[in-house]
């Protein structure tokens, strides 16, 4: 084995280094894949953080509540929510911080879930 590695080191140095590098990168991604799937398997980690790039419709899908509830919580006409507008754009438009929008939405989501599903234990 050692003779083989020595032989390859002399004749195929580049390929040998590339092989070892590819092997360690495989290990790295395998480990990351396992940790991220373990993390995601926990239902507590599935509620995503509301970010500026999300649209009200996206947040509604993410939190599994009707779009009208999200729209109403941030003062948008629930009947005709503006299409293709992100929360960041809405926060600028309404002169509110993203954090304010975030907490307004979360509050509405929590109250909607209690009325939709009844109190959870």
């Amino acid at each position: 084995m050692i003779t083989l590695i020595k032989h390859l080191w002399h004749t195929q140095r580049f390929a040998l280094v590339a092989f070892l590098l590819a092997l360690s990168v495989s290990g790295f991604f395998a480990a990351r894949f396992v940790t991220s799937s373990i993390y995601w398997a926990d239902p507590a980690h599935r509620n995503v953080q509301i970010e500026g790039w999300m649209s009200p419709g996206y947040v509604a899908r993410s939190y599994r509540v009707p779009l009208e509830i999200i729209a109403a919580s941030i003062g948008i006409d629930p009947a005709a929510p503006p299409p293709r507008r992100t929360l960041a754009a809405i926060s600028v438009l309404q002169n509110k911080s993203l954090d304010t929008l975030r907490s307004d939405i979360l509050e509405a989501v929590i109250s909607a879930r209690t009325t939709l599903e009844g109190p959870t234990r």
Binding site: A18, A22, L23, V25, S36, W53, G57, Y58, R61, A88
Partner: protein, 197 residues
């Protein structure tokens, strides 16, 4: 994170998706997978049209592939003038290239752009490139836009999972390929040693 990029999706929609998949097929560092997943998510929330989204992504990908392949062909002429030794690799690509092209579209997609250049440089025939590229991109776009649609609202998490999975598979494919190469040269070396006592 590339939040600002994601914020552009509902706004610039189809153009952005088209440009992203095109650029990613030319090895430009644009997170096309994440963009397709998010676009699928936005399609699910009714802010984009699903078939248009998928078509834009597919058109960008196939044009990007063909461009990369054409660049590889031009590059090969330049390399040959410089006296590069391509013959062995060329032989392998001509025999097994189509499968490599197909798999590097979707399963080991991080290798996709380099396979485009390499396949072009090794002189793979046009039909042997275009057909598997077409099928593979169909799968890639369908998979990512579809997963974004199905798991809308969780695209960042899905993107992380898929990114690690495809990174692992691509690195593994490289490891196996280089392993075979090393084994092959080790055997060849041993044969040579036997011949010359």
């Amino acid at each position: 994170m590339s939040d600002w990029l994601l914020a552009l999706i509902p706004q610039y929609g189809l153009i952005l998706i088209f440009v992203a998949t095109l650029a990613s097929c030319l090895a430009l560092p644009i997170p096309a997978s994440l963009i397709m997943l998010s676009a699928g998510g936005f399609a699910a929330s009714g802010e984009m049209e699903l078939t248009q989204t998928a078509f834009a992504a597919f058109a960008g990908a196939i044009i990007g592939d063909i461009s990369g392949f054409a660049i590889g062909r031009r590059g090969a002429k330049w390399l040959q003038r410089k006296g590069g030794r391509l013959s062995q690799a060329q032989e392998l690509v001509r025999r097994r290239g189509a499968l490599g092209v197909f798999l590097s579209r979707w399963l080991i997609s991080p290798l996709g752009p380099y396979v485009n250049f390499a396949a072009g440089a090794a002189g793979l025939a046009w039909p042997k490139f275009v057909l598997p590229a077409f099928m593979g991109e169909l799968l890639w776009v369908g998979l990512y836009v579809g997963l974004g649609y199905g798991f809308s609202g969780q695209v960042i998490e899905i993107a992380r999972l898929l990114g690690n999975a495809s990174g692992f598979l691509a690195a593994l494919a490289l490891t196996i390929g280089l392993g075979f190469w090393l084994r092959h040269t080790a055997h060849a070396g041993a044969r040579n040693l036997q011949k010359t006592p």
